[in-house]
Assembly symmetry: D2
Homo-oligomer: 478 residues x 4
Amino acid sequence: MALKTAAQYFDSLAKMHPTAYVLGDKVPQPSTHPLIKRQCAAVAQTYALAENPAHRKLLTGYSPLIGAEVNRFNKLYESIDDLVTKVKMLRLISNQTGCCFVRCTGMDMMNATFIATYEIDQKYGTTYHHRFVEYLKYIQSQDLAVHSGVTDVKGDRSKRPSEQADPDLYLHVVEKNERGIVVRGAKAHQTGSLCCHEVIVGPTRRMLDSDRDYAVSFATPTDTPGIIHVYGRGTLGERNLSGVDLGNVEFSKFVPMVIFNNVFIPWERVFMCGEYEFASRQVELFGDYHRHSHGGCKSGIGDVLVGAAACIADYNAASGSHINNKLTEMVKTAETMYGCCLAASYEAKQNPAGTYMVDTALANTSKLYEGKEFYEVVRLMMEIAGGLVGDLPSEKDFQNPEVGLLLQKYLKGAPGVSTEDRMRMFRLIEKLAFESGDIASQIHGGGSPEAHRMALLRATDLETKKKLARRVAGIREP
Amino acid sequence: MALKTAAQYFDSLAKMHPTAYVLGDKVPQPSTHPLIKRQCAAVAQTYALAENPAHRKLLTGYSPLIGAEVNRFNKLYESIDDLVTKVKMLRLISNQTGCCFVRCTGMDMMNATFIATYEIDQKYGTTYHHRFVEYLKYIQSQDLAVHSGVTDVKGDRSKRPSEQADPDLYLHVVEKNERGIVVRGAKAHQTGSLCCHEVIVGPTRRMLDSDRDYAVSFATPTDTPGIIHVYGRGTLGERNLSGVDLGNVEFSKFVPMVIFNNVFIPWERVFMCGEYEFASRQVELFGDYHRHSHGGCKSGIGDVLVGAAACIADYNAASGSHINNKLTEMVKTAETMYGCCLAASYEAKQNPAGTYMVDTALANTSKLYEGKEFYEVVRLMMEIAGGLVGDLPSEKDFQNPEVGLLLQKYLKGAPGVSTEDRMRMFRLIEKLAFESGDIASQIHGGGSPEAHRMALLRATDLETKKKLARRVAGIREP
Amino acid sequence: MALKTAAQYFDSLAKMHPTAYVLGDKVPQPSTHPLIKRQCAAVAQTYALAENPAHRKLLTGYSPLIGAEVNRFNKLYESIDDLVTKVKMLRLISNQTGCCFVRCTGMDMMNATFIATYEIDQKYGTTYHHRFVEYLKYIQSQDLAVHSGVTDVKGDRSKRPSEQADPDLYLHVVEKNERGIVVRGAKAHQTGSLCCHEVIVGPTRRMLDSDRDYAVSFATPTDTPGIIHVYGRGTLGERNLSGVDLGNVEFSKFVPMVIFNNVFIPWERVFMCGEYEFASRQVELFGDYHRHSHGGCKSGIGDVLVGAAACIADYNAASGSHINNKLTEMVKTAETMYGCCLAASYEAKQNPAGTYMVDTALANTSKLYEGKEFYEVVRLMMEIAGGLVGDLPSEKDFQNPEVGLLLQKYLKGAPGVSTEDRMRMFRLIEKLAFESGDIASQIHGGGSPEAHRMALLRATDLETKKKLARRVAGIREP
Amino acid sequence: MALKTAAQYFDSLAKMHPTAYVLGDKVPQPSTHPLIKRQCAAVAQTYALAENPAHRKLLTGYSPLIGAEVNRFNKLYESIDDLVTKVKMLRLISNQTGCCFVRCTGMDMMNATFIATYEIDQKYGTTYHHRFVEYLKYIQSQDLAVHSGVTDVKGDRSKRPSEQADPDLYLHVVEKNERGIVVRGAKAHQTGSLCCHEVIVGPTRRMLDSDRDYAVSFATPTDTPGIIHVYGRGTLGERNLSGVDLGNVEFSKFVPMVIFNNVFIPWERVFMCGEYEFASRQVELFGDYHRHSHGGCKSGIGDVLVGAAACIADYNAASGSHINNKLTEMVKTAETMYGCCLAASYEAKQNPAGTYMVDTALANTSKLYEGKEFYEVVRLMMEIAGGLVGDLPSEKDFQNPEVGLLLQKYLKGAPGVSTEDRMRMFRLIEKLAFESGDIASQIHGGGSPEAHRMALLRATDLETKKKLARRVAGIREP
């Protein structure tokens, strides 16, 4: 059985017992908590759409590892087609959810780890790659939801991991024994951790010899003893508590911090342990794959933004060339992100481990638009919508017997559109513009824009371009 | 007594009995409600700083109308210096509050109405101007806080006021009698209405003869029977309910909708009633003055954004030329808004009513930067800050005995900076980036960017510029 | 023989006798004129690289029409691979020439005409398609250089072709007889016309029934009696007269106007004649294909700009993060144009005529970056280079015995770089930044940015996106 | 006699005998050379407009130094009004010339030197200030045209002046004797040097003790023995040779390099000699004043660009909201530059030397828009104009008897507009978009954009802004 149904997914989560804190309280059954469950609902779409015959082709693929069809989120990028399909799948799901659905971090980390373990073994004769493949078979056959744990809390940014006043500010090995290792540290921005069965952890940056204990990668269940999930309080989370003014009626993101407070990892789940020169390799592979993923999911969110802007223009009975100009500009940015990532897929190259690596320059180019221009897309949506995006009376006021009818009356827009529908669209726009976890992810997801700029320049063959210029200018080569 | 203390301001509010709904509930004493009181605290700064000898010169001025020093928010723009000082005062107060303080809408509306009533009287021999001056003396001598009611809810944007299916979607006169008029309608985006004693209402757009009943301007107390304030639920409002994770510890904006449900206005408070050709005049005067105000208050907010970005860089121990570049870009936009508005002040011209009108082109130019580039300033702040702006654990978690210390440990940044201070700065950045009422006001306050573009082009003498081009090109004038 | 050598190309041009005017003089042998020959040299690269084994795979392809390998510029887009390869070929050639090489206009027009004639025949049972295929076989087997004639001079832009005061301001049929048709009009922006053997002409815009005579498409040799080429005087053309300060030592663009002064076209070369409803179809097909071509050639020019900027930084001994930032921004735009066009190729769809049509949204998206952001790339190159790009003493001064050595001395840059090389690089940068024909083509080539915006919005399925937004917002479909 | 007429200006130039090379030839009487004289004509406008009663108030002012009215280009900034008037004067003259008129560099350098000499004397008890004032009286009373010599050729940018392989790559003192000093070096980008009577030279950058010989400032006639002017060959210069297709019919810029080949300067003209710590002071003063000047002259050029774009839209009979949007964007940038510089004037502060210094932050903010956004203004003009800006047939073709009438016919635009006028407007647009000296000056004039960014950040009180953020966030001051 390599494919879970959505119902089986929920059931399997219910059987887990992670340690979780939400707004100051310890929560016994987090996956049903109102601040968590709508994120689980988004993850569940990755199961549900795989059951849907119309989308099965995008959502699943054959895995030679277990000789069966697996969910694409647990599949290696074994061909160019896998990478193209990934982008299209992510756009499709975002179109349905208008919200992050978490599993791409795991998918990208699996693929990064597959290559990194191969390369470590090549150099050191270790067996990490075999271990990882065994792990991956387990994940595939159980169809587990996996997320990645990359970003350390980092402490003093001017210092290396081993130089920090508190050695725990980057996750590291604190003990090794015959059975395994014990790790301590904390990973920030762990979108949807409580909706996943497993996490694959890896280093967040380049390491030196002195940082050897920090060069560690492993996988473990999200409810392993010692792991503590702390809900991150973003802007709109609490709307889920009362269940009104949601904007997105079914789905919502949450982004916790996850503390690894002396967590034991058996050796068969350890994929790097001290090979510090591969730390940057794994995280850069993950980074490039994940920027590539964003081109899919965020262009899909872009479609929802464009649709919301076009709808609210209709609902306000606003039209004209200035609306069209703004919509065109919005579409342009979404298509740019998508187009560059598709091209990064088609131009992918096979690596020695056998899987395919996207074109780094094009993947990072795409992400740079998400980091900057996509924010302008959000602004354009608000410019089209008008001021009500900032100050709409609550659904609770609409339900008030004294003032509700007056609000119905005064917030009517175009003929044929109910005030309720118009309010829902404003709330969706609010959600798309102001969910802080989403906006932060657009800027900082898969690394900061500075990281993307450096990656793009590094991927650029400047010397060859200089030669071109010299030849055209008639300058003899030195 | 032309100057109230902050304490007197609070007392005077406490004596009012407005009708107000907040998140579905009728609220008896709104000015002390946790979702309202922090906005009142910001308004109170306009009183407190006027008491402060260091700032008195900016905050007050002599009014010949009552022969006394008055709060500048209730003063006419009687000189270029008044306009320059307004911009500087607004930047100063924003620097202190990091938050809107409401009264500039009233100040700008007073000044617009002063001119509009003068011009109506000149044409029709009416006595609106005298009435308005009497009203202004009352406001000045009592030092009342006034806001303006301009933006109608508008309904179907493709239709004029008199063409709407529901005639009430623009505020209009429904009855006239010897004592006064009765009006009905609703005004959206009434920032801080419940923190003000009075409102001055005027039309929101150009009117035709058929819209005559909609060409109405008047003033009235904010607790006049029939007036209903409905709290607009923005993104971060509810943080004020629990009092944690506030970001801005003292001040917070709220932006309600205000319904005028058959409100009686005595003639002595009516300043336009049917003179439809002056509707656009009043609102354009208000618009140009108010865009000018934004150049002051929003450059002041810009200072806080720049400061917050610079602080968080320190707290993260992040530095380097990329940080400096982003700070410079942020400063550039803030100075642009400020510089253009200062210039608009200095280049002001006296109008026949005797007061001074800002340079329209420069004031609208400034506002266009707020509408677009200022949003990029916000993004740059977030780019500098990093991802924690989107998902910080709550103060409630820090207070939790089990997990609080772990959070303290893991969210430590630069040496010498307490985790608590770092968390506060992240919360401030969240507040500055995600308070939906603020962001919406940056885009749509004082009219939408399209309105500013049209105003700028209208203020541009294209024919003269064409002549310059023809002369330089050697083309004989036709 | 389906492939000419570069030498054969020059020979074949020398045998033609076009009517041409350059700067006021009638020129008997234009292809050797100093203002024309460097453009011919660029076209010759499309022949020379096809002879080069290293590039033959990109530059040629098998044509089933004549059962032989043909130059890719004369090939139909018979597969996705053809479209991908086109983009890569164009980038490659631009890398070598740093200059337009003309033939892509012909290639794109052949492909547009192939489809348009097919569709006309389907509707009307005409035989245009057969005629066109025969013509194409001739072109392929002779390996002729072809350009397209699309843009009419247009006269009064507010009027349709048939409404113009002078009926000739759009090219039209003025006579029909048994042997063929006679056409009159003028086509602007005919890059490299005198370097081509043939031109394929088509309408420039949508036509109505009343414009029926203007709906005409045909092919003809560029020296057909009645055709007059008038050299367009751009900014840097005349450098070629003295042969110094060239910037690009081998290649240079020229963009004439071509007048069709009663030109006879035999029926076998007529591909549309009155089927006005296909006018827009042909030009839109051409437009989309040509915007797609620009993504290839202009990203290739972008490589030269990046290389020139990186070189001049070296030659000035300037370095630092601000240089890297600017280079990264330049690379980003070039990769965006390239990536979107690659994606437009890969996502191409077969059309009923059997060839492949690029993804319109992605091709127009790419072109929008050329129209705007690429100009910023040029500026960044100048920002890196410094002021000498605007005011370098001439090579003639360097040759002057009195002042030449002083200039050598004072214009020395980094150690190890000769002043001459530095000067050459500045001249290349000048050429890349200020050749007016290039810059105008970046903005207006393949239609104006407004045309690209409209094409992008037209290619966007807004209704589906609205549905996505409504579903996420929980709004029932109407 | 403190005011020359334009005729007297030309006469006085004719009496000078500078050493000049143009395109490889030594030119005996440069001020009448076709490549120089149109720049002199622009300078002459600074004399002619001072004679014009309508403009005299802007162009002249009272100088207490000589007790007479002087040309404003030779006047100290003795008040805020002087700085405001400067900006307005510069915009006015640019409006008339559409071209640089040179003298502002001298004006700004006079003012910088006035302050710097005062400060040196304060520290060292030298008499530079007195010397300089005497010199200034001479300039004022003779109404001489003065330019500034600041930018050294710089050689290897990674090295300080005294570290260069060739010590002459920054201008320096090579000999001192009782009568004066001898200097050697070269200054780049010396706009209009041959149209000026005098030059004031100063260091181009911060100096250290080791660079002491390079810390030198002085004034001298432009035909002093040893000074060699070498014409910089820009893009459109040579149009002036044939006198057709000029674009700007009367005025044109030229930007030579000026070599100081062992030039003797008597002590009474030396204003700094070894006081290295004042090198940066003088150049920064000059830089800030000169960026301030650009806000005037370039907004004036901006008016001509806007006018040209609006005219060509008329001439093409093109209209619509997209044209209006582009014009508005163009106006916005011009007004921003102007507004920020006006504000920088109004906010000026008196310095100890007695004159007024502009607000540095606002002046540099303005210049940043010229460096980047103004280039987009140029692009927008071209986007409005259409492709003919790149490839218009020459006036020589219009004069050709065979093809001239056909061109007249085919290049006709809107009814009522002659083809000739339309062509002239396209040529003006070409001139405004492609004169390389102008574009380079927009980017690099008054220092590079990086210099402006650094100046802006340096002028920003970050610590105070951090305090504001901390207070609002509730963080106790450390």
